[in-house]
Structures are given as structure tokens and as C-alpha cells.
């Protein structure tokens, strides 16, 4: 038995470009602080430094120090075990319930430390199921793990790709570790470029939201970046983030020591413009650190260091419950607007059970007015007593298909779906059973409004 949710708009139409791009309605983008201009003021993210090892060398990186380019902490910064990381996430969610995204971006490569990465994501997802997970990688070791990436419920993967041409690659990457062997020079770059596009293909073909980061190295990969954008667009990559090479001899990187300069503002802008012809460009990236905590641009990492956390007693259940409620309240579009799903047959009244609904009408409301914005079809997941409480794929899929909604209104909602909705940060509401849709949606939006105000005030 399967639930067919109307598929989301193609990710390729998504992004929040500085170079005028289409609006994006993919819920995976709308409230992601790294992708959406609206969201990065409202939602917070945390990067967990659980992946220390790296399987390639880049000439803009000195593994000894914090990576100047991704603003990653180097090996000198603290590396967390998966358990420590999950605990840290809980502590951060306690202090900042707007936390919506957990990422693993280093200090090395998420996929070069795959077992640690997997253990961390599982522990985090168990503690706070509403969180969205994302990973960053150089792409070398990704394709083989694409199925696991999907199974883990990861929504976004960022791949750093700097060239399509192995000759140029050899000037950026001195070596890679691949299939139990160190490869150098041209051979190394050939392997890397090949595996990077295998990674892109493996992920996008599985419906994963993929972002490409490129480091702009003037005089080295100028003409490569627009080509990367064009090729990425063909694969259905969502967004391209062109970042300036940050280069200084004091960083001890090969480029820094060799006097390779980074681009100036005008060059960077022009390059983003060129790439923007093919793919939405990211305009507000702050190249945050792999152990970044908090809202973008506001790094509160120090508050949650290992020492600060030691001996802290956390009520995991209470934190998870409040976190889910805040996440639901935060899903308010650009202003204070919420999407609210309604189980209705006639489109006038709330007249269907959650499990029997063949479609959900999605309304948007700011508490003042109500607008019908979408119709999402489902295959009925509950077909009688024998199916009830049956925990197959249909229910999780159904809940996931409503993940952009802050609440769902139905005549009745069973125990199992009720739990799942709550855990996904979607408030189940049955008190308006058989009522007219508009006033009920208005009332719920007003309630969400009040909830959010109260929750945020609590924190202040």
C-alpha cells in the first residue's frame, strides 16, 4: 500500500539567488537557513565537528589550521564523538529552539568518516526527529553511500566542485586517497572529477537536494565555474554557491604561500552573474564554520563547548516536545504566514478522517485571511481495521508530504499518525471537526501566532 503525494516542484527551479531566480516552493528549501533568504533570519543551524579525517588534499586548505575557505575548524579544534554531538544538539535545542538544521561539514570530510557520520545522524534524529540533516563533501566517497543517504533521511548534500577539467584539477588537488591507494597529479584529479559527478548523479537521481560549492581561484578556474553551473543544472542540482578563495600566506596553505590571490568583490559578483545564467546562485553565504552554532552569521559555538556541556542535566523529552512545537510555529512562510493542511472531501467543511483523506487542501493564513494554495493527493493509507496502526511506509510518506505545514485539520486523527505528526512538528487538530474550513483555518493560524509569540518570549 503506498501513499502518493503530489511530487514537489523540481528542485532545479529552486534557490534564493542574488541573480534574479524563480521563486522556490520546495519545503526543503523554504525553511533552510543556508538556502533561503527568508529562513536564515528565522531558523538556526548547527554544524557538528564529528568528521575529522579527509581523503584529499586541496591547495587552499591547511589541515593543521582552521580551513580558511570553508571556515572549517582545523584539527586543532575539538572533535566530538557521535554521542557528544547528539548531546550538544539537545543542549543547543534547549537554548535555541529555532534550531532546524544539523549539518556535518568536517573538519575533514563527512564521507571520509562515514561510520562516525552515520552514528551521529542517527543519534541526532532519534533525539530530535524534526531536525533536517545535511552533509558537505568533496564528493570522492559519496556515490557508494547514496542509498544510505536517502535511508538516513538526509535532505541536503553540498558538494564542493572546483573544476571539470583534470588538468586544472591537478593545480588544485595534489593528491587523493582512493581505493586504498594514494594517487597524485593528473590521475588524482581524474578520479576526483569523475567521482564528483558520479556523486551528483547518484544523489539527484534519488531526489536529494544538492548544492554545489565552488571556490573561485582567479587565473585557475575562471572558465570552469560557469561550466560547472551548466552541467549541474542538467543534473537537477538546486543551487550553486560560488565562494571566493581566501588566501593569505599566514594560513600556510599552498595557495597562500604561493601568492595565489583571491577574487575581489567585483570579480566575484561578475562570476556569480555568469554562473547565474545556468543555475540559481546563493547570495548570502557566510562560509560558516563546521562547528558553527546559532543563526547564520551569529556564531555561538563557544557557549556549547565540551566543558560548558559537561555535567549539564538535560530533560531530553521535554526539550524534544518544545522543539517540535517551536518548529511548527516557525513554519510561517515569509511573514507570519502558515500553511495548514485540511482533510476535506467537499472543500467546504473539514469532513474527513486523517487516514481516509484522499487529498489534503493546503491553505495559507496569517490569521487575517485564508487562501487555498495547493491540493495534495494521497493514496488512503488506512483501508480498514486490519491496516490501522500498521507502520508501513505510507504513513511516514504522508507525514513527510505535509512537512511544510504547521498544522493539519481533520475529523479524527489516530494515535499513530498523531504521534508521527507531532514528532514532525505538524500540529494535529481535531477540534474543528465538521466545521467550515475558512474560520477554522483562521482560528488555528491565530493560535499558532500566539504560540510562537509566547515561545519566543519565553526564551528572551
Amino acid at each position: 500500500m503506498t501513499a502518493q503525494i503530489l511530487s514537489f516542484p523540481a528542485p532545479s527551479s529552486c534557490g534564493s539567488g542574488s541573480t534574479g531566480s524563480q521563486e522556490c516552493h520546495d519545503p526543503r528549501v523554504a525553511d533552510h537557513p543556508c538556502y533561503s533568504k527568508d529562513a536564515h533570519h528565522k531558523f538556526a543551524r548547527i554544524h557538528l565537528p564529528v568528521a575529522p579525517a579527509c581523503n584529499i588534499q586541496c591547495n587552499y586548505c591547511n589541515r593543521k589550521y582552521d580551513c580558511s575557505n570553508e571556515s572549517r575548524p582545523g584539527v586543532v579544534s575539538e572533535v566530538l564523538s557521535p554521542e557528544e554531538a547528539a548531546y550538544k544538539v539537545l543542549a543547543v535545542a534547549d537554548a535555541i529552539p529555532q534550531l532546524s538544521v544539523v549539518g556535518i561539514a568536517g573538519p575533514g570530510d563527512a564521507f571520509a568518516n562515514w561510520p562516525r557520520t552515520v552514528a551521529t545522524l542517527k543519534a541526532v534524529k532519534k533525539a530530535l526527529p524534526v531536525l533536517r540533516l545535511c552533509l558537505s563533501s568533496n564528493g570522492l566517497n559519496v556515490a557508494a553511500h547514496a542509498d544510505e543517504v536517502v535511508e538516513l533521511g538526509i535532505e541536503h548534500v553540498t558538494l564542493t566542485i572546483n573544476t571539470l577539467d583534470p588538468e586544472i584539477g591537478a593545480r588544485i588537488y595534489p593528491w587523493v586517497f582512493w581505493e586504498h591507494k594514494r594517487w597524485k597529479g593528473l590521475e588524482a584529479a581524474q578520479i576526483l572529477v569523475r567521482e564528483q559527478w558520479r556523486a551528483v548523479e547518484a544523489l539527484t537521481s534519488r531526489g536529494m537536494l544538492v548544492k554545489i560549492n565552488s571556490v573561485y581561484i582567479p587565473g585557475v578556474n575562471d572558465d570552469e565555474l560557469p561550466k560547472i553551473s551548466r552541467k549541474a543544472a542538467e543534473f537537477g542540482v538546486a543551487i550553486h554557491n560560488v565562494m571566493p578563495l581566501i588566501s593569505d600566506a599566514s594560513h600556510g596553505t599552498h595557495f597562500g604561500l604561493a601568492g595565489q590571490r583571491g577574487p575581489d568583490e567585483a570579480e566575484l559578483e561578475a562570476m556569480r552573474e555568469r554562473c547565474g545564467e545556468h543555475l540559481p546562485q546563493m547570495g548570502h553565504c557566510h562560509q560558516c564554520r563546521a562547528d558553527a552554532v546559532g543563526m547564520l552569521g551569529e556564531d555561538r559555538g563557544a557557549e556549547f563547548g565540551r566543558e560548558a556541556l559537561a555535567g549539564k542535566a538535560l530533560d531530553a523529552q521535554a526539550i524534544a516536545a518544545r522543539h517540535a512545537a517551536v518548529q511548527a510555529a516557525l513554519k510561517s512562510g515569509s511573514g507570519a504566514k502558515w500553511k495548514i493542511a485540511v482533510a476535506t472531501g467537499d472543500g467546504l467543511r473539514i469532513d474527513q478522517h486523517f487516514g481516509h483523506a484522499e487529498a489534503f487542501r493546503i491553505y495559507e493564513s496569517d490569521g487575517q485571511s485564508v487562501k487555498l494554495v495547493a491540493l495534495r493527493r494521497t493514496a488512503v493509507y488506512c483501508q480498514g481495521p486490519s491496516d490501522c496502526g500498521d507502520d508501513d511506509n505510507a504513513l511516514p510518506k504522508l507525514v513527510q508530504g505535509l512537512s511544510d505545514c504547521a498544522a493539519v485539520l481533520a475529523v479524527r486523527i489516530g494515535y499513530e499518525p498523531w504521534q508521527k505528526l507531532e514528532r514532525a512538528g505538524i500540529q494535529p487538530v481535531v477540534e474543528h471537526a465538521f466545521a467550515a474550513i475558512e474560520p477554522a483555518v483562521l482560528a488555528v493560524a491565530q493560535k499558532l501566532h500566539a504560540q510562537m509569540a509566547a515561545l519566543l518570549e519565553n526564551r528572551a
Binding site: P52, A53, C54, N55, Q57, N59, C61, N62, R63, K64, V75, V79, G108, A112, N113, P174, W175, F177, H180, K181, R182, K184, G185, G252, T253, H254, G256, L257, A258
Partner: protein, 80 residues
């Protein structure tokens, strides 16, 4: 027959993730190879794994005390 880690190690963890014999230990912030478990990867891989991923020249030595990745061998290597 065993490899060893020198004080040029920058504690990047890479060797630990690839050793087929769990011969590398992370003790009080330092990485070291247990000579009782290191086989130089004989029978597992043609190339010893730790020294094939280590990003630092001179951080790993063979049983004669010679650097497996001598100066210049990782070409445009940056950690120094």
C-alpha cells in the same frame, strides 16, 4: 615490522579510519601505532594505508625510522 607516528603528526585522524588492523590508537590527544598490531598492511593491501592517506610529510616512519612520505613527496602539500 611496524610503522610509527612522529611528532610531526597534526592529529587529523585520517590514518585511524583506514588501518585494517586497528593498530592506531588515539591516546590523550596523540596518535600512535601499536607495533604489536601493525603488519605494515601485509596481506591486506599493497600499500600501507596510514601513510597513503596521511597529509603530512614525515609524520609516519617505517621500521628503519625513514619517513614514508619524505619532504617534497606530497608536492604542493601545505601542512608543514
Amino acid at each position: 615490522m611496524a610503522y610509527a607516528i612522529t611528532d610531526r603528526c597534526i592529529s587529523c585522524w585520517a590514518c585511524l579510519t583506514v588501518c585494517p588492523n586497528q593498530a592506531i590508537a588515539h591516546v590523550e590527544g596523540l596518535f600512535m601505532i601499536d607495533p604489536q598490531h601493525c603488519t605494515e598492511c601485509a596481506g591486506d593491501f599493497p600499500d600501507p594505508q596510514c601513510s597513503s592517506i596521511c597529509p603530512v610529510e614525515g609524520a609516519i616512519e617505517n621500521e628503519w625510522g625513514e619517513p614514508v612520505n619524505p619532504p617534497g613527496s606530497l608536492s604542493s602539500m601545505s601542512a608543514r
